[in-house]
Amino acid sequence: MNSDEQLILEFQKGSRDAFREIFERYREPLYGFFRRRLENPARAEELTQECFLALIRNAARYEPRASFRSYLYGIAVNLASAEWRKSGREVEQTEHHDCAAREGNPDAALWVRCALENLEKTDREILMLREYEQLSYSEIAGILRLPVNTVRSRLFRARMALKEKLMPVQGDAHRKIEEPR
């Protein structure tokens, strides 16, 4: 089985099969990346597509110094940041209301999303890249241009903050689920 780096090098030489393989490997993770960060599924789909198109257009610039995963998620983070910049003000105004509206919602996914949205932006990004994209500390540091120690300390801070938010909520949610019984 070829590594990601071998596939992208083959793709640089014009192999369509290599691109198809990359696409199959990263289609779901990339869609998940954008979907977790955006409420609109259609927009997440569009950004996933844009991310692959950016990969196709910039494939010639890829150098095997960095891991392909970092390279691809670097593109994804840039696209997501651009998206936030475009609609940033709107999101900031609505996010707290959304959380408030979800407080009575027993859906665990929504609770987690709400808890994540209340984190500081960089902390949230670090946590999500670690938990969902499974990137190492050094890969996250490379993508976000932060020192590795900063990544570690911020990740810890984010996890502790989530512990405070999610654990009591989990209990309440369970109680609310159990009440009808």
């Binding site: 691109f19 998940g32 599924p41 692959f52 196709i56 609770w111 938990e131 654990m167």
Partner: protein
């Protein structure tokens, strides 16, 4: 007592351990610590719980249509990527920009070159027409066969027809271009100008000078730094002779302890100048080179015309002296005039010959410098010679000192003695008077 004193590991390190970010040795130590430390196990458990809770945030699967879209687009752009490998830019805008730039450049070239081509063509036609005028005038019977013929436009042509050479064109009014104001002055018939003088002379039947194109006095100066000075300096004269030239003057400087150099003024035929400079450049590194061209056509024409006028005058005076009789004083006056005219003629002849020589032989000033390398001077280590020189110098200094002292004594001694007597003797008496006589004991 804080946590760090109780536990060997910080909570962050526990987190890094769970994330697999600790080194193997540290990870083993922390695993061992967790077995015995309940508090740290609690922290680890909480961190695991947080991660597990985060996994609740699941999203729906990726839509299938996304794959179709991207693969379809990817198939198109893979070709573009493979083109990029060969440095080609398939972007349509760039292609369009290049095409537009090429079109603009082509348009500029056409806009510049076509008018120039047309002007050259018109000038060539006009030159042909001028030549035709010359032929027709030569064939025609002109009174006294004078060199000046007037065309239907009232322009003087013959005698200056050689100016109508390639590179010197005439416009539709018959005015010549290519020699600047000079040509305009000659042909244009400006009153009081050179052409005016010529026409006046022509009217007297004096043949106008024949000029073969512009007369240029060429001078060049070149400074060369030669690594192999002996060889280079030895080649200056042979190179000059090989080109049919000669050395006008040459001086060499070969002082010990300094770079040697040769300064030379060389004269080479004007046609050989370029080749000769090329030969010189091969002698070493050219540090400086200057060229100067001075046109003397106007001055030459003027000088020649004046010379011919003087000769004609001389001829008339000679005829006058041979045929006419008169007073002796008149004859003497005519003889004096003849002598003056002949003196002028000789002077002008000399000037003209000098001018022609200046034109025929270009002047080249060459300064050849040696690339100086400091050398040991064996004489400086000849101690015996230095001692001898010092001794001779010392004796010379002694003799000079004695002579100088004697001169000083002879020159100023009498004066000093006189003033000592005038001032010293009264002072002596005054001193003795005021000192008083010593008390007798």
């Amino acid at each position: 007592m804080n946590r760090s004193t109780q536990h060997a590991f910080e909570p962050e390190e526990i987190m890094a351990y769970l994330d697999g970010e600790l080194e193997a040795r540290q990870a083993a130590a922390l695993a061992s610590h967790l077995e015995h430390c309940g508090e740290c196990r609690t922290i680890a458990a909480q961190l695991r719980q947080v991660s597990e809770r985060l996994l609740d945030f699941q999203i729906e699967p990726c839509p299938l249509k996304l794959g179709e879209k991207i693969l379809q687009q990817g198939n198109t752009d893979i070709h573009a990527v493979s083109m990029l490998q060969f440095g080609k830019k398939p972007k349509p805008f760039r292609s369009f920009a290049w095409a537009a730039a090429a079109a603009i450049v082509l348009l500029l070239i056409v806009a510049v070159s076509v008018p120039n081509y047309l002007r050259r063509k018109m000038a060539a036609n006009e030159t042909t027409r001028v030549d035709q005028y010359r032929i027709s005038v030569d064939n025609a019977t002109v009174p006294a066969a004078g060199p000046t013929a007037t065309t239907s436009r009232g322009r003087a042509v013959t005698g200056l027809q050689t100016l109508a050479t390639p590179g010197i064109a005439a416009d539709s009014n018959g005015n010549f271009h290519g020699l600047g104001d000079h040509a305009e002055g000659i042909v244009g018939g400006v009153p009081g100008g050179t052409a005016g003088k010529l026409e006046a002379q022509h009217a007297e039947g004096i043949e106008a000078p024949e000029i073969r194109g512009p007369m240029i006095v060429q001078t060049a100066s070149i400074t060369i730094l030669a690594q192999n000075y002996d060889q280079a300096s030895g080649q200056i004269q042979p190179l000059t002779s090989a080109r049919g030239g000669y050395v006008q003057d040459m001086s060499a400087n070969s002082q010990t302890g300094t770079a040697r150099s040769v300064s030379a003024t060389l004269r080479v035929p004007d046609k050989q100048l370029e080749g000769f400079l090329g030969d010189l450049r091969k002698l070493g590194h050219v540090e400086q080179e200057t060229r100067n061209n001075r046109e003397v056509t106007d001055a030459y024409i003027d000088l020649t015309a004046r010379l011919k006028t003087a000769r004609a005058t001389e001829q008339r005076v000679v005829e006058l002296l041979g045929t006419r009789t008169g007073k002796l004083s008149d004859v003497l006056e005519a003889e004096q005039e003849l002598a003056r005219i002949r003196g002028e003629i000789e002077s002008m002849d000399g000037q003209r010959a000098h001018m022609e020589h200046e034109v025929r032989y270009a002047t080249v000033q060459v300064q050849l410098n040696e690339e100086y390398r400091e050398q040991l001077n064996p004489e400086s280590f000849s101690t015996g010679r230095r001692l001898r020189n010092s001794l001779v110098e010392g004796l010379g200094n002694l003799a000079a000192g004695i002579t100088g002292t004697a001169i000083f004594v002879f020159a100023y001694g009498p004066s000093i003695l006189f003033w000592l007597a005038v001032i010293g003797i009264p002072a002596w008496f005054i001193w003795r008077r005021f000192r008083g006589t010593p008390k007798k004991t």
